[in-house]
């Protein structure tokens, strides 16, 4: 008791600043104790949840396989399957279980196709999992909304079209991205309608995703991409250029030629690349006559185009550009010259002091 009073007296006579530091230390000490104690609980919970997740994952995998084998091969649900569905309905009222089941089903549905995939989709409807996903679309938090769209995409719920289409202009990027993936996964080219009046920029990542999904489907009716090539949204034009290349949209050539005069440099470069892919000769003369007015990126793209379509008439243009300051253009010019006129290439008088050209010629001769 005496000791305690002594400490208290000592503490009271300390300067305010030191007292304050002691208070802070005391608070930090309590806080650290709390953190240590909770860290133990947290790590235990994480471990337990992981164990539980693995356990339920195994159970649900087995149940799903049994469910699939219990099918009678005809449309509809067999009585045994109905029992599985009813059992599962009770389980999925628990969020944890529901999330595990969804992840198991997603994994399964990604690995299979045909009738079995259809049976899983049916299971998704019959158990009522679809209602939980639809409910998520109304959530305030963006991540829940996005998760809902993701699930509806995985289980191909076309009925949610109207609700998800509204989310295509959602302020949050991930929600928009999931909505785009939904539309394209389920409606292919028709799902790209949102591009018609897109106000935000479609990222390169989004474009690659959409293109990959489209390429999964065979025998599609390809929409006319001219409208998108003429879009005011630069990212839509870039995406349309990718579509033009992947789907050989040669019929859009006139619009592509117009894009050579687009005010965006990247679009002009991409356009030249697409025209090069089409072995287009009409763009050649235009680009040749404007060669000194276009950017270096366009010049490189144009020379790549020339690698495919150059002929004897281009010889003078090619020879002039052997002394171009850009290494890539020099290399392509010399390669093209060798292709269109080997004797000329062999007797070429090299400019003095251009070590690059000497090295390139030597390299081309030896390869």
């Amino acid at each position: 008791m005496n000791d305690y009073q002594n400490i208290l007296e000592y503490f009271n006579q300390l300067p305010v600043l030191v007292k304050l530091v002691w208070y802070v230390s005391f608070l930090l000490f309590i806080f650290i104790l709390g953190l240590i104690f909770y860290l133990k609980i947290l790590r235990n919970n994480l471990r337990e949840n992981e164990k539980k997740r693995i356990k339920y994952q195994k159970i649900y995998e087995e149940n799903l396989i049994n469910y699939l084998y219990a099918g009678d091969g005809i449309e509809g649900i067999s009585p045994e399957q109905r029992v599985f569905i009813n059992n599962m309905k009770k389980d999925i009222s628990n969020t944890f279980n529901r999330n595990v089941l969804i992840s198991v089903m997603t994994k399964l549905v990604n690995d299979i196709s045909g009738e079995i995939a259809q049976a899983i989709h049916k299971f998704y409807f019959e158990t009522g999992l679809i209602d939980y996903s639809l409910l998520k679309l109304k959530a305030r938090k963006w991540e829940i909304k996005a998760a809902g769209i993701h699930e509806l995409t995985q289980f191909e719920v076309k009925q949610a079209y109207n609700e998800i289409e509204k989310l295509i202009k959602h302020p949050h990027k991930e929600v928009r991205n999931q909505a785009q993936l939904y539309l394209v996964n389920l409606f292919q080219f028709k799902g790209l309608k949102f591009l018609n009046d897109l106000t935000y920029q479609l990222s390169e990542w989004d474009q690659i995703q959409l293109l990959e999904i489209l390429q999964k489907f065979d025998n599609q009716e390809i929409t006319d991409i001219t409208l998108w090539l003429k879009s005011n949204n630069l990212s839509v034009v870039k995406f349309a250029l990718k579509l033009a290349k992947v789907y050989n949209q040669f019929e859009s050539k006139e619009t592509l030629l117009e894009l050579l005069k687009h005010n965006n440099k990247e679009i002009r470069v991409e356009t030249i690349k697409v025209l090069g892919y089409f072995y287009d000769t009409d763009s050649k003369e235009y680009l040749k006559s404007n060669f000194h007015d276009i950017t270096e990126g366009e010049q490189i793209a144009f020379f790549k185009l020339l690698e495919n379509i150059a002929d004897q008439t281009d010889q003078h243009f090619i020879i002039v550009n052997i002394s171009h300051p850009n290494f890539e253009i020099k290399l392509m010019a010399l390669k093209i010259l060798k292709n269109i006129n080997q004797p000329k290439f062999n007797t070429l008088k090299l400019a003095e002091n251009d070590i690059d050209v000497e090295r390139i010629v030597e390299f081309i001769k030896n390869n």
Partner: protein, 479 residues
């Protein structure tokens, strides 16, 4: 000097120390909050991403992995195998054998059926000349591999050679002894492709410590906590640095450094600024500062992105001699870079970079060991003069110590709530015990290395890289 003048000087010194300590604490608290928010957002944002769609795409951008190697004969075959096993489709691997004196090249030739090829190099960045030349594999299974054998010029020179060789739009520069996870490239490329309003010039990854982890055929099989104190303490350091510090700076777009062990760059921008600087040991930090500076000067909106996923695992020093040598080099690198780019500091023309990133780095990284050692020496003088107010001193020491502990525990929380890599029972206790001891055991060595780095920088210019003896990642054991 009369006694009142001395008193005023002493009081000023005390106040300056107090302001410095308080501002350090305040900045750490602020960074913790920012990083917590950013980590949570990052985890949510990436929970739906299907990386497979990017993997197989023919329009996904090309990436070259550039890995300089110097006397890495012990592990080079395994390491290259690890680099070749990435899941990304459109990539290649360029190993730059930087004048190794061992049999690295011979081993590579034998293991990967390499033959010398004619290769036209566009010397956009000057480098040391080739020695044996460029090699490609005759085995189609290794068609992604290119090995370049050149004269020794240091890591930066080797990376520059890789930049010249690469035909890709992006380059991932990596230490050859690092182990990359199979999905590392698609995660690192994502920021370059997903941001539409700014130009992403580089992205940096988290470096994790692989000591004691189980690795088989270049793949990470099991994550273990090492047994040695020095290794566990470095794990805590890395967690603090990568999950709290860099995550926050990334959110603020103020990252000044991307670890040389694993970073991805827009190749054109890296070449346009002149590639890596061969005259510094801090080439990883220097190129980022130079790229940022160039963007600011051109008034281009840009970002240096950061990926917190544990994608790159490396071997950390397991003895104090090598640790000191490594930290000494880091200190010299920081001094060199900050000195070279001193124009940026406190220059409003460079906006956030000049007014916050640079000053932060200058005061809390560059000057930290110097201020700390001055503080310690000053305290010793006060003890000698019997002029210490122990109640003050003890209270402040305790508060500083507790704050350090709290900050480290928050870093552990950050790890648990995001990636939870150390799942084994008992690991939490070990981490906590090391947390309590680290300020007394590891920190003095780090401080010593920092001071030695300063001394070496000013008085021993001949020192360059220092030694890092490798044991090899494949020797990890299960705990």
């Amino acid at each position: 000097m009369d006694s009142s003048t001395v008193r005023i000087i002493l009081l000023t010194i005390h106040v300056l120390f107090f302001i410095y300590a308080f501002s350090v604490i305040f900045s750490y608290v602020l960074l913790s909050f920012v990083s917590a928010r950013e980590s949570s957002q990052y985890m949510k944002r990436n929970s739906f991403v299907n990386y497979n769609e990017i993997l197989s795409s023919t329009v996904s951008p090309s990436i070259s992995i550039i890995a300089p190697a110097y006397n890495e004969s012990l592990n080079i075959i395994e390491n290259v195998r690890s680099l070749l096993s990435n899941h990304y489709v459109n990539y290649d691997v360029i190993i730059v054998n930087d004048g190794s004196k061992d049999d690295s090249l011979e081993k590579l030739i034998k293991a990967y059926d390499l033959v010398k090829v004619n290769y036209l190099i566009n010397h956009q960045v000057p480098t040391k000349p080739l020695r044996e030349g460029v090699f490609k594999s005759t085995n189609p299974a290794f068609e992604k591999l290119t090995v370049v054998d050149k004269e020794n010029g240091g890591k930066a020179d080797a990376l520059n050679c890789g930049l010249n060789i690469s035909q890709s739009k992006f380059v991932a520069c990596i230490d050859v002894d690092c182990l990359l996870l199979e999905d590392a490239l698609q995660k690192m490329i994502k920021p370059f492709l997903e941001l539409t309003d700014v130009k992403v010039i580089a992205s940096g990854g988290v470096i994790r410590i692989a000591n004691a982890c189980k690795i088989k055929e270049g793949k990470l099989i099991e994550i273990n906590l090492p047994k040695k104190f020095i290794e566990i303490a470095q794990i805590l350091e890395y967690l603090r640095s990568f999950l709290l510090g860099r995550m926050a700076w990334s959110r603020l777009n103020g990252l000044l450094v991307i670890s040389g062990a694993f970073g991805m760059f827009d190749k054109k921008i890296a070449i346009d600024v002149g590639g890596y600087d061969t005259n510094t040991v801090g080439e990883d930090m220097e190129i980022i500062v130079r790229m940022r500076r160039s963007m600011e000067e051109q008034n281009i909106k840009y970002k240096v992105a950061y990926i917190p996923d544990p994608l790159c695992w490396t071997e950390a020093p397991d003895n104090y001699k090598i640790l000191i040598s490594q930290r000494n080099r880091w200190t010299r690198g920081t001094i060199e870079v900050l000195k070279k780019h001193r124009k940026i500091g406190f220059n409003p023309k460079y906006k956030f970079l000049g007014m916050l990133s640079y000053p932060y780095w200058f005061f809390y990284e560059r000057l930290a060991p110097i201020i700390e050692i001055i503080g310690i020496l000053y305290f010793i003088v006060l003890i000698a003069l019997d002029n210490v107010k122990w109640d003050y001193a003890f209270a402040f020491f305790l508060a500083a110590y507790l704050f350090t502990i709290m900050f480290t525990i928050i870093a552990i929380y950050s790890e648990e709530l995001t990636y939870h890599q150390y799942t084994k029972k008992g690991t939490g206790i070990k981490l906590l015990l090391v947390t309590l001891l680290e300020p007394f055991v590891l920190h003095p060595f780090i401080l010593y290395a920092g001071i030695k780095g300063n001394i070496d920088y000013y008085f021993n210019k001949k020192i360059k890289w220092g030694e890092m003896k490798r044991k090899g990642l494949s020797k990890g054991e299960s705990n």
